[in-house]
Symmetry: C2
Subunit: 205 residues, 2 copies
């Protein structure tokens, strides 16, 4: 299986960590985002949304979207389980995962799209006031995570799941490319971050 990816991109990283947790080997092919390769006719045949990551199967079938790919990999190799075992646990992991995606990752994305790197690229004109608002929501969510992580070790409960992978890749992206580092006072959030950073799947990818 081939993973279309690019170093440092947060969404492909989710899949790379997920596959490492499962000990699944994927061949990597880098997509040249700077030269808009992801919007080329050839790439659009792999993903009509023109985004990475994409997983290409042996027969050429392509699956886009990091969570669709991760769910496929979970079906191929169910252990270690990362999406939940029982009906209730699966629903709770999905709930926490969606909180992260819809309330944190989406706001980090808005700050990124309206921030200085994209502005300098000339691709999108930032709209005044948008980044300040999304920055505010990101920081409010960091505070919420700090409070929630006083009660439990991981994002969705007492074990590592897909929700941790998404939250970690999101926060790493926010720190390194969007200049949104969680304040050091949010010690529970930073302790969780440290636990994640120590995992073999994270250190080696």
């Amino acid at each position: 299986m081939i993973l279309y990816t690019m170093p440092h991109a947060p969404n492909p990283r989710r899949v790379i960590i997920f596959a490492a947790e499962k000990n699944i080997e994927l061949a990597h092919v880098n997509v040249d985002l700077r030269n808009r390769e992801h919007k080329s006719a050839e790439f659009i045949r792999r993903n009509p949304s023109g985004k990475i990551p994409v997983l290409e199967l042996e027969d050429g079938t392509c699956i886009a979207e990091s969570i669709a790919i991760s769910r496929y990999l979970e079906s191929l190799k169910p252990e270690p389980n990362l999406f939940g075992r029982t009906a209730l646990e699966t629903a709770q992991i999905e709930m926490h995962h969606r909180f992260i995606e819809l309330e944190l990752f989406s706001q980090v994305g808005i700050s990124w799209v309206n921030g200085p790197i994209i502005a300098a690229s000339g691709l999108i004109d930032p709209i005044a006031g948008v980044k300040a608002r999304s920055d505010f929501f990101v920081n409010a969510y960091y505070q919420r995570l700090h409070e929630e992580l006083a009660e439990r070790e991981y994002i969705a409960g007492d074990r590592f799941t897909i929700a941790d992978i998404t939250a970690f890749c999101c926060i790493e992206f926010a720190i390194t490319l969007v200049d949104l580092k969680p304040p050091k006072e949010l010690v529970n959030l930073w302790q969780w971050h440290g636990r994640l950073a120590e995992r073999k799947s994270v250190k080696n990818t």
Copy 2:
């Protein structure tokens, strides 16, 4: 099981249609969004994000997020299948579902939050230029759906799935409350909309 909901809200409607497809009965309790009941301390205990829908189980356990709830209902009653059967079909449905959520529904949401109804409520000040941009993305996505629905009958392939429920509730919300009606020239999109509107689960809810 109790569903915390509110008439005309698009996300609870997803769960209501999903449950109707499965013939699962849910007791409905309306949450008074206008008086901010969803942000009350009592409601925050059910969902820390302060949003509807929430499903409360017999033992008081609460599940928030429409897709987490739907997945729980699918586990309780697997047929008719709406999330996919094989590993590949499940991944493809998830991929199409995410396209709708991330590229259409999120933009409709931005247009809603920055539109006249929310502005009149005084809850959030709209930011100039934001709605015009999200309206543009919504209309571009309508065009994409029109083209894709020339090739297949439903959003994720040749059968009705969770992706159709999400797309339908999103577009109904866009039409009725965000003033974003797909142009009538997009005949494939409108034919699909007609097929959905005829379903018993949609007509009766």
